[in-house]
């Protein structure tokens, strides 16, 4: 897919995800996942030191966070950092994950001292879905 097509698709996807999030609909999560995937595609064709490459890398991580897919956000952040991101971009990517970790630390301060945010979030979700006794199984 060429860059113009990807830009048009990501514009559509962001707008749709924002509208769904504004209406507090569950479908917002899958819409943000789609945004993250399109941003990742753009990151593959635009270098990290280019404005659009910078936006795409931050966008891929941010959209994964908004899709509640912290494992993906962490993996993308690490991948972009290893692929020649500038110091400023690396800091920005870390900050995006920190915002999510700060939110988690309010609810699970002790767990976050011993585990990665993605693991804490996964366990928190399991507890919410299946109740506290699952941890004993």
């Amino acid at each position: 897919m060429d860059v113009d097509t990807l830009n048009t698709l990501v514009t559509s996807a962001i707008w749709r995800a924002e509208q769904l999030e504004h209406l507090e609909l569950d479908a917002a999560c899958s819409a943000w996942r789609e945004v993250s995937e399109l941003e990742e595609q753009l990151a593959k064709v635009k270098p990290a030191d280019d404005a659009e490459g910078h936006i795409a890398r931050c966008g891929a991580v941010r959209a994964a966070v908004r899709a509640n897919d912290i494992a993906r956000a962490e993996a993308l952040s690490q991948q972009f950092a290893e692929q020649g991101a500038s110091r400023a971009l690396r800091k920005e990517l870390r900050d995006l994950l920190k915002v999510e970790a700060n939110g988690l630390s309010e609810g699970f301060p002790s767990a976050l001292r011993h585990h990665k945010p993605s693991d804490v979030l996964r366990l928190a979700r399991l507890v919410l879905e299946r109740g506290p006794f699952l941890l004993a199984t």
Partner: protein, 182 residues
């Protein structure tokens, strides 16, 4: 007083070829609803403040059915409608074209990335857009300029556009480079 050619919102897709057609259509409908609920008729004079230059132009749009306004969120009528008008103004006054939309949250404060191509050189611009349904827009312009100045995106220029539906008016201003990142 109108001293420029008409700004026709129905041509938004021609102005910005990368703007998805369905998105442009709903933005224009919301602009029409925002203008019509403020009692404006097609061809009203749009007061323009671009950087420090004041001018005006007739604003035209495909008439919307106000009875359908209930199907749209009130705030989205103002915000999405403002985006349609701001992008049309950016094209007509600066020859800028949409590259893509950005996620508007936290640090990535530019709502849109636009480009200007001149003599083979491509310049990219971060544009933050906001709408005001009733009242003065000057405070919002200052607020948006401050926000977009903090954007970490490495673009050539950072701008803010605020659209007021009551008058109607649009202010499009560029952040002075020395204030970037403050």
């Amino acid at each position: 007083m109108s001293d420029s050619p008409a700004l026709d919102l129905s041509r938004l897709c021609e102005m910005h070829p990368r703007l998805p057609g369905d998105l442009a259509a709903i933005m224009v409908i919301r602009a029409a609803l925002g203008l019509q609920r403020n009692k404006h008729a097609d061809g009203v004079n749009l007061h323009l403040i671009v950087e420090n230059a004041i001018s005006g132009c007739p604003l035209t749009w495909p008439i919307a059915d106000l009875g359908l306004a209930k199907q749209h969120d009130n705030n989205r009528i103002t915000e999405d409608g403002a985006e349609a008008i701001a992008l049309a103004v950016a094209h007509n006054t600066k020859a800028w074209q949409v590259v893509r939309r950005c996620q508007s949250e936290n640090k990535e404060r530019g709502d849109w990335v636009l480009e200007h191509v001149s003599d083979g050189k491509r310049r990219r611009i971060a544009l933050e857009v906001s709408g005001v349904d009733r009242g003065n827009i000057s405070a919002r312009v200052r607020q948006k300029l401050t926000q977009v100045a903090k954007s970490p995106i490495p673009v050539s220029d950072r701008c803010a556009a605020v659209v007021g539906f009551e008058r109607p008016e649009t202010s499009l201003k560029t952040v002075k480079k020395k204030t970037y990142g403050r």
